[in-house]
């Protein structure tokens, strides 16, 4: 299947080059989104379907919506630029040389294989039984390296706080839904399905591809759809329940880390027997936090409300 790999690789590179060199910002963004989808495809081929899901949902999907929305909020023609070609001046030539050398070195480095296999990875697969979940990636994320995930939730929360401080929500489209009822009807039709898939992904994360991140992203996607079809919108006010849900993912980790110290004697370790329930609790609170955070990152507002509500 090297031929297909080669084709994918070629397409990825071409799209990347297009993304950098397109004069129109819109085209660059579109190239980037397509690249994300192709990347997800290549990850499926590399035995990483859950990552492909995440990339498609978050990296290409949600980020794509955000990119397009931002592009729309910029003045006309903003961000259109022609970057100099490698031979147009000394600086581009130097940068091109440097980047090419880097790429070649990286290629060589990525082909160097050490003699023994990665010991952390082996250990992770080895101790999977004790982790409370069957899916290795979920085990790493929520148990073996749960600390990373806690910190990551912090990153998400702080990006959100920063975004809200800027008070620049995405522009809302007021005209389209008025012209046609079709998208709204469709949303009503699909919404249960999307919610189901999202929750399923969260639940399934324990034993098959999926997990809090993918599920959360899908749930956020449902929210985006609701907003796009005019059922909901961003709100300038927030409430403590919403904030608690937003902070919930990180809070559960923090509390689990602190409160269970006397019980287990170790930090962020979960008592035998309770591992699975705790994992499930963490998964769902994480998914909820992620979904809401991503949704608010999209609206750029501190709260949410139904359309027309005050």
């Amino acid at each position: 299947m090297t031929a297909l790999d080669s084709l994918l690789a070629l397409l990825l590179l071409l799209l990347a080059a297009r993304c950098v060199s397109a004069r129109s910002l819109l085209q660059a963004i579109v190239a980037f989104i397509v690249l994300g989808l192709l990347l997800a495809l290549s990850w499926v081929r590399l035995e990483a379907p859950d990552l492909a899901l995440a990339e498609a949902a978050i990296g290409a999907g949600l980020l794509g919506v955000l990119l397009l929305g931002t592009w729309r909020s910029l003045p006309l023609g903003h961000g259109n630029e022609r970057i100099p070609l490698p031979w147009q001046g000394l600086r581009p030539a130097l940068i091109t040389t440097g980047c090419t050398v880097l790429a070649v070195l990286l290629t060589v480095a990525l082909h160097q294989h050490p003699e023994q296999a990665a010991m952390s990875g082996l250990a992770a697969l080895d101790q999977l039984d004790a982790a409370g979940v069957d899916q290795p990636v979920t085990a790493v994320l929520l148990n073996f390296r749960a600390y990373d995930t806690l910190l990551e939730m912090g990153v998400l929360l702080m990006a959100l706080i920063g975004t809200l401080m800027l008070d620049s929500p995405l522009p809302r489209d007021t005209e389209l839904p008025a012209r046609t009822m079709l998208p709204a009807t469709l949303a009503q039709l699909f919404l249960p399905l999307i919610l189901l898939i999202g929750l399923y992904l969260v639940w399934a994360g324990a034993y098959s591809p999926g997990g809090a991140f993918q599920g959360g992203a899908v749930l956020a996607g449902a929210g985006v759809l609701l907003i796009l079809t005019g059922f909901g919108e961003g709100d300038g006010r927030d409430g403590w329940v919403l904030r608690a849900l937003l902070a919930g993912g990180a809070l559960v980790f923090t509390l689990a880390g602190l409160l269970l110290i006397p019980v287990t004697g170790a930090f962020m370790a979960y008592p035998q027997g309770l591992v699975t329930p705790i994992m499930v609790l963490i998964e769902f609170s994480l998914a909820l936090s992620i979904a809401l955070s991503l949704l608010l990152l999209y609206t750029g507002t501190p709260g949410l409300r139904r359309r027309g509500e005050r």
């Binding site: 003699e115 250990a123 929360l157 401080m165």
Partner: protein
């Protein structure tokens, strides 16, 4: 109580406080101040354990070696934690007074600041390459919104530039981590050095990427472009945190990784290159600081210069240089904190920070100017101060290794620092103008003036108590004696 609870608390308690503040939705400066107090106590409680055993290790999750995540509090980490804790107390007191009447900004500050504090603690305690990546991002993403507190309209350009560079830096770092993981199969700093095969291209490239990524985050000379506007534009309390701790954290990582896991990969030539970058940063940054017309930019460029000193460890790589570099980090942290807080007071009083128009500020701002002067002593590396101790250690290291070019750099750097520090201090002595116009600002409350002074005094005291601190620090883990 087991000693390894302490590092865990240092990370989790600030997070908890930040999250609670976020949920609460109205500013609770008291909570923040209690937190920084507890944080300081926790760090102090760590000292005896580290002094006795050399390091305290906490295992997160209780898993076995190659998989588990550990928090490591050794001498180096402890000193940085101590710096952070001291600065946190002063900055929190300052911030309590500074944002007393601004509900919105106070809420944001008291949410982000504990989270940033926890992130910094997490970064200093980290013993894992990927944890470091996440904490670096955490620190950045907490820092940039704090910059925006000065008013998004004014600081958005600086914040965006900061974000772009920080993001690129951390992804370059991550690329390096990927390559190292591919070779070593572990992310644990303690295991990495042994697990890395000798001199493969992947290993060297990975190490280089990691170093370059951190250099961007640390704003070392060719990558310094994002720093002055961000540090100069942020509110005083935030500038103090950014300059004293956030960029310092990146420089700290460089020291930690270089003398630990990357030790088998680094070459003397690379050390000389980093040293050269440091020297350039010292000379260029000081010169730029001297040329600035606005006070906060002077101080910001001074940070560019002062970070260069920490890079002088790499070419010399002896114990004295190690101690000097770390000590410089501490001294600069305290002194720079004091400088920014004092500059903030001047800005508050005058309503601007243009150097040319500053006159007659000596009486109302006497305490702040005292802080500026004392901190300036340490920045210039004059005795008795932490800055001098650091300079002395670096100088002896350069003599010891026979690398005289660093000696010259150090002495020249001190003189240039004197040039920009005295350019500000002389304002205090200028005759006031005949008719003093009405001041738009206000005289800073005592809490704001004294928190700066306390930091400055600590920077001076650092020069007197160096023996126990240096003993705590020890020598570089993998470095040559």
């Amino acid at each position: 109580m087991r000693p390894d609870v302490l590092p865990v608390m240092l990370v989790f308690l600030p997070f908890l406080a930040g999250l609670l503040q976020f949920i609460a939705g109205r500013p609770a400066p008291r909570l923040g101040n209690v937190l920084v107090g507890v944080n300081l106590l926790l760090v102090l409680a760590l000292i005896p354990g580290v002094a006795d055993e050399g390091a305290i290790v906490a295992n997160l999750g209780g898993w076995s070696e190659p998989l588990a995540i550990h928090l490591l509090a050794d001498g180096l980490a402890l000193l940085m934690l101590l710096l952070t804790a001291l600065l946190a107390v002063a900055v929190s007191l300052y911030a309590m007074a500074a944002w007393r009447d601004q509900h919105h900004d106070a809420l944001r500050f008291w949410t982000l600041w504990p989270l940033l504090l926890g992130s910094l603690n997490a970064l200093f305690l980290s013993r894992d390459l990927f944890n470091i990546y996440v904490t670096l991002e955490l620190v950045t993403l907490a820092a940039i919104p704090l910059v925006l507190l000065a008013g998004p309209g004014k600081t958005v350009d600086a914040a965006l530039r900061y974000l772009l560079f920080a993001l690129l830096g951390s992804l370059i770092y991550l690329a390096g981590v990927a390559l190292l993981y591919a070779q070593a199969g572990t992310l644990d700093l303690a295991l990495l050095a042994d697990a890395l095969p000798d001199s493969t291209l992947a290993g060297s490239l990975g190490a280089s990427l990691i170093i370059v990524g951190i250099l961007i985050k640390a704003a070392i000379l060719p990558f310094h472009v994002w720093l002055p506007a961000a540090h100069g534009g942020a509110p005083a309390a935030v500038s103090a945190i950014l300059s004293a701790l956030v960029v310092k954290a990146a420089a700290y990582l460089l020291l930690r990784l270089w003398s630990g896991p990357l030790d088998p990969l680094v070459t003397p030539a690379a050390g000389q290159l980093l040293g050269a970058l440091g020297a350039l940063a010292i000379l260029f940054g000081s010169w730029q600081a001297f040329r600035q017309e606005r006070l906060k930019l002077v101080v910001a460029y001074s940070t560019v210069a002062q970070l260069g000193y920490m890079l002088l460890f790499f070419p010399m790589a002896v114990t004295a240089a190690w101690q000097g570099a770390v000590y410089h980090g501490l001294a600069h942290g305290l002194a720079k904190g004091a400088l920014f807080l004092a500059a903030g007071n001047i800005l508050l009083y005058l309503g601007h920070d243009r150097l040319r128009e500053m006159r007659g500020i000596d009486r109302p701002l006497a305490v702040s100017l005292l802080a500026f002067g004392l901190a300036g002593v340490s920045i210039m590396g004059l005795p008795p101060s932490g800055g001098f101790t650091a300079k002395w250690l670096l100088l002896t290291a350069s003599v010891e290794t026979g690398q005289w070019w660093w000696t010259i750099t150090l002495l020249l750097g001190g003189l240039l620092a004197a040039a920009y520090v005295f350019r500000v201090l002389r304002l205090a002595f200028l005759q006031p103008p005949e008719n003093v116009p009405d001041r738009p600002g206000m005289v800073p409350p005592p809490l704001m003036a004294w928190s700066a002074t306390v930091l400055a005094v600590l920077a001076i005291v650092l020069g007197v108590v160096s023996a126990p601190l240096l003993e705590l620090l020890g020598s570089p883990v993998g470095g040559s004696e």
